[in-house]
């Protein structure tokens, strides 16, 4: 433990490995902004970070109620981490409802920074408290630091000429300033961001900056904290980093895919939580050769994307579960027409409208099987926010190379969660080969590349290659409508075989841990982080546990069966009732067990550790 010159000597600096902080307040309290600025500062300071925003239902609920609480959690650490943390070490609670909703998650003995100004009688009542928990001793098991953020903010802005409402809105900056002080982060980045956010409104910038600095100074001067904390930088791979959310990464992946293939990107989409941000983000990139089209519904959205693909462009559509259900008939047309198409499903809580703002992994079977007839489609799942970028690029590459729609699975937690992302060097980004057929000699619309079994892509406008395709079964060479029984079987099997062949290009699977042994934990998608952390923890405890993460859900990697057979037991944690497990059991006849959670929330590392321990014992 070493003190730093800039600090008053009497305050200890505690060095910590990893800290999880949750900011919680009303939907209108700006907790998302506070959380993300705090995270940014931590990332820039060199920590590894993971964030997880927890929105209430879509509509803003009445102020002060439990339903209206909005949370933002971040874990930052001096070593690589995989999740936003299970239970917070620190809870910043702006009002009683925020305290009540989040207290059950706080670690025993955890730190609560409570805005006493928000604990009015009215708010206490709205949150269902009979007495003020800050005063009735019920928080004895925690370290409570009461700060009257409301009043301190008002003081800071006294005479600023701002309205009461504007002043109230700046509270979050006080909390941010205080927290930045507590973890010894500089304020500069937050100030710069305020400036660019409120460009043209200098009075707001000034006020917010003032409050921010007031919060920082308050930590410094008020004798509330006996120590400040230091979380030293993590050793991340060298490179230039940024924070990125899954939805951002998907948008960037789409732009990259368009540029790397030299194709025009065309996104047909219809807004739906939690996928809409991809549309929003992409709609800003008109200067990157990407067009966005907000269609009248999901069916029109994918239909337009198919039209674009028929025209020789990179067609994309994005949605969430209910919208994907609507698109299936059109996806099937793309399967039959053998056109490349990118379909992104940002999964949310189901069934039906379900829990739109919550996360889940329960669309896997839907995307694998939810179409009439034998309709194989490649499915890839992203494992973290940043990984969405790579996954989209890879999906685009497969779609174009194999002339097939490809589905990318993301989910609510990685869509909105953030992590530091190493910005790829231009040289890392391999071009995506596109070969439009132009030669009329011997052209047959459904003749196939002997290796990939892909048919040729022809841009309308190419002389001499005029042809017609459609959704009826087609002759295996000419593409003309064919009712021939044998031809149908040939085509059904060829479409299946084409998709199976994609697996030939997959890199070998990598098992994290020993390559054989007692227990293999198999996961997919966003649970990667929690599983990786849990398995490492278990190995630290001496357990014989390995981890295998699958990014390809269809086709399955060719080496998967062999790997599964090397372990005595296989367990598949999923945020559903066992969808990948169903597939693995069927394909490999392995008695895989499930760890299943369907609560609209990600796995916590500790709960995985416990559940796996149970299985081992």
């Amino acid at each position: 433990m070493q003190s730093q010159p800039a600090l008053k000597p009497e305050r200890r600096v505690e060095r910590l490995d990893a800290v999880t902080v949750r900011f919680a307040g009303d939907s209108g309290d700006g907790m998302q902004l506070t959380g993300s600025e705090f995270s940014k500062a931590s990332a820039i300071a060199g920590n590894d970070i993971r964030t997880f925003p927890d929105f209430p239902a879509e509509i803003r609920a009445p102020a002060g109620t439990l339903a209206g609480v909005s949370g933002f959690q971040v874990q930052f650490a001096s070593h690589p981490i995989y999740t936003p943390g299970d239970r917070p070490d620190v809870l910043v609670a702006m009002n009683p409802a925020a305290l009540k909703a989040n207290l059950p998650d706080l670690k025993p003995g955890g730190l609560i920074i409570a805005n006493t100004g928000g604990f009015t009688d009215q708010n206490l009542k709205k949150a269902g408290y009979d007495a003020n928990p800050l005063e009735d001793g019920s928080l004895a098991g925690y370290r409570v630091i009461p700060v009257d953020i409301t009043r301190l903010t008002e003081n800071a802005l006294h005479g600023s000429g701002l309205s009461a409402r504007e002043i109230a809105r700046s509270k979050n900056m006080f909390a941010l300033g205080l927290m930045l002080w507590l973890y010894q982060r500089p304020l500069e980045k937050a100030v710069a961001d305020l400036r660019s956010k409120f460009v043209g409104r200098p009075e707001i910038v000034e006020a917010n900056e003032k409050v921010l600095r007031a919060g920082h100074a308050y930590g410094e001067t008020a004798e509330l904290f006996t120590s400040v904390y230091e979380v030293p930088p993590a050793r991340l791979a060298p490179g230039t980093y940024r924070n990125i959310s899954g939805n951002q990464a998907i948008a960037l992946g789409i732009v990259a895919a368009a540029q790397l293939s030299g194709l025009k990107g065309f996104l047909g989409s219809y807004p739906i939580t939690p996928a809409s941000d991809i549309l929003h983000e992409l709609s800003r990139y008109k200067n990157y050769g990407v067009t966005t089209f907000q269609a009248e519904d999901e069916i029109a959205a994918i239909s337009a994307a198919i039209g674009a693909a028929f025209g020789g462009n990179l067609g994309i559509t994005t949605s969430s579960g209910p919208g994907i259900a609507l698109k299936q008939e059109a996806i099937n047309l793309a399967v039959m027409a053998e056109l490349p198409l990118l379909i992104v499903d940002v999964q949310r809580g189901g069934p039906s409208t379900g829990l739109p703002t919550k996360t889940e992994q329960a669309d896997l079977l839907q995307v694998l099987f939810g179409r009439n007839g034998e309709s194989p489609v490649p499915v890839l799942a992203a494992q973290s926010p940043g990984d969405c970028f790579r996954t989209v690029l890879e999906a685009a590459r497969i779609a174009i190379r194999y002339m097939t729609p490809v589905i990318v699975l993301s989910d609510g937690s990685i869509a909105n969660g953030q992590e530091p992302w190493r910005i790829p060097e231009p040289s890392e980004l391999e071009r995506i080969q596109v070969r439009f057929r132009t030669d009329p000699e011997g052209f047959q619309p459904y003749a196939r590349d002997p290796e990939t079994l892909a048919r040729a892509w022809v841009r309308p406008g190419t002389p001499g290659l005029e042809h017609r395709i459609g959704g009826l079964e087609k002759h295996h060479l000419t593409g003309a409508v064919s009712y021939d029984p044998k031809n149908h079987e040939l085509m059904v099997r060829t479409r299946a075989e084409k998709i199976e062949r994609i697996a030939r290009e997959f890199p070998p699977l990598e098992v994290d841990g020993s390559p054989s042994g007692k227990l293999l934990v198999v996961g997919w998608g966003s649970t990667y982080g929690a599983i990786a952390a849990a398995v490492r923890e278990l190995r630290r405890r001496g357990r014989d546990v390995s981890h295998l993460h699958l990014r390809y859900l269809n086709p399955l990697p060719r080496d998967l069966g062999e790997i599964l057979s090397r372990f005595e037991r296989v367990v598949v944690p999923e945020l559903n009732l066992g969808q990948l497990r169903t597939i693995l059991r069927s394909r490999y006849l392995v008695d895989a067990k499930g760890i299943n959670k369907v609560q609209g929330r990600p796995f916590q590392v500790t709960e995985l550790v416990e559940r796996i321990e149970e299985l081992l014992s």
Binding site: P233, N243, G307, G311, P460, G461, R468, G471, A480
Partner: protein
């Protein structure tokens, strides 16, 4: 979509090797013939023409056109064509659809294409029945229609395709008849010229499941009485000039013309460019049935707006550079 001179294309150039598979006697044959007649005149290389269709007898159309073609799924052709045209403004995109395809399952896509003014040429084959599925009543079937699924008569008020199109603010709306080859071809030419969505309702006979639905309009003896040909700038006359249409307030009424009747000068002079309420009123007429162009106006075309906006963004922000975009605004470096 620029028409470059293409010499020597003929009707035959637009025929395919596929056997045409409509029922013998189907009105679709005549429409196909008219389209194959007109296309070579447009001066557009056939590789720059695409026919997109949904599902239905009518939607088999693309198989018989030696252009690019896409026989898609039921009701979605306007949406698919929208994606195609928007990314490939260089192509001339035709949509072929039926009264079921366009107005039952596809009604919404149809409307939204029109209101956006996507540059599509939509041929709506209206035989007032579902042909391909063997004879159910359709959204345009007359009230009381006895058909496969309505043995006691349908109880749905029919949709008026022209009024629906006008309600969606379509910039070009017209009607013709399968067997009126000259008129139909004239309408096809007009569509080809129009910039924006052009909708042509083609009254078509399904001789198997709804034979004679338009007989009163095609039968030699009755057609003069029943066909009202709309011609821009001309007074609305029919019945060989013996009758005409006059406006009474907002209501078009049939009047005798000439001796004992009103003077031609009292008749409504047709104006394709008038506010759509006029076309709307005329479209409500059943007897006589107007054919011709109900409305033709210039409105900004969707893909042009799109291109223009992209151009402006590029002008303002410069062409996007991937590495800059990937980096975003807040980065830090780990050595």
């Amino acid at each position: 979509m620029k028409a470059t001179a293409v010499v020597g294309l003929t009707r035959k150039d637009f025929q395919t090797d596929q056997e045409v598979r409509w029922c013998p006697g189907c009105g679709d044959y005549a429409i196909l013939a008219s389209v194959q007649k007109v296309l070579p005149e447009l001066g557009i290389p056939r590789e720059n023409i695409v026919f997109v269709s949904g599902i239905g007898c009518s939607s088999r159309f693309p198989y018989y056109m030696n252009t690019y073609g896409f026989h898609t799924i039921h009701g979605r052709a306007p949406a698919i064509a929208t994606g195609l045209k928007n990314t490939r403004p260089d192509l001339q995109v035709w949509v072929v659809t039926g009264d079921g395809d366009a107005l039952a399952i596809g009604g919404n896509h149809f409307l939204h294409a029109l209101r956006r003014n996507v540059d599509l040429k939509i041929l709506l084959f209206n035989n007032r029945v579902y042909g391909l599925t063997k004879g159910q009543y359709s959204p345009t079937s007359e009230f009381g229609k006895k058909a496969k699924s309505t043995p006691y008569g349908s109880i749905d008020e029919p949709v008026n395709p022209i009024q629906i199109a006008l309600g969606a603010n379509a910039s070009f709306v017209a009607r013709s008849i399968d067997v009126e080859a000259r008129h139909l071809q004239e309408m096809l030419r007009r569509m080809a010229e129009h910039r924006g969505t052009a909708v042509l309702e083609i009254l078509q006979n399904c001789n198997v499941f709804n034979d004679g639905a338009w007989d009163h309009l095609t039968n030699k003896e009755t057609k003069a009485e029943n066909q009202l040909v709309l011609e821009h700038g001309k007074p609305l006359l029919f019945a060989n000039g013996k009758k005409g249409i006059r406006l009474r307030g907002f209501v078009p009424e049939v009047v005798e013309v000439g001796e004992g009747g009103v003077d031609v000068s009292e008749l409504l002079v047709w104006d394709e460019k008038a506010p759509p309420a006029l076309a709307f009123a005329l479209a409500g007429l059943a007897s006589p049935t107007p054919i011709g162009v109900f409305r033709q106006v210039e409105r900004p075309v969707y893909h042009e707006l799109e291109e223009q906006q992209a151009r402006q963004v590029v002008e303002r922000l410069g062409p996007g550079e991937l590495s800059r975009l990937l980096a975003g605004r807040d980065t830090w470096t780990v050595e």
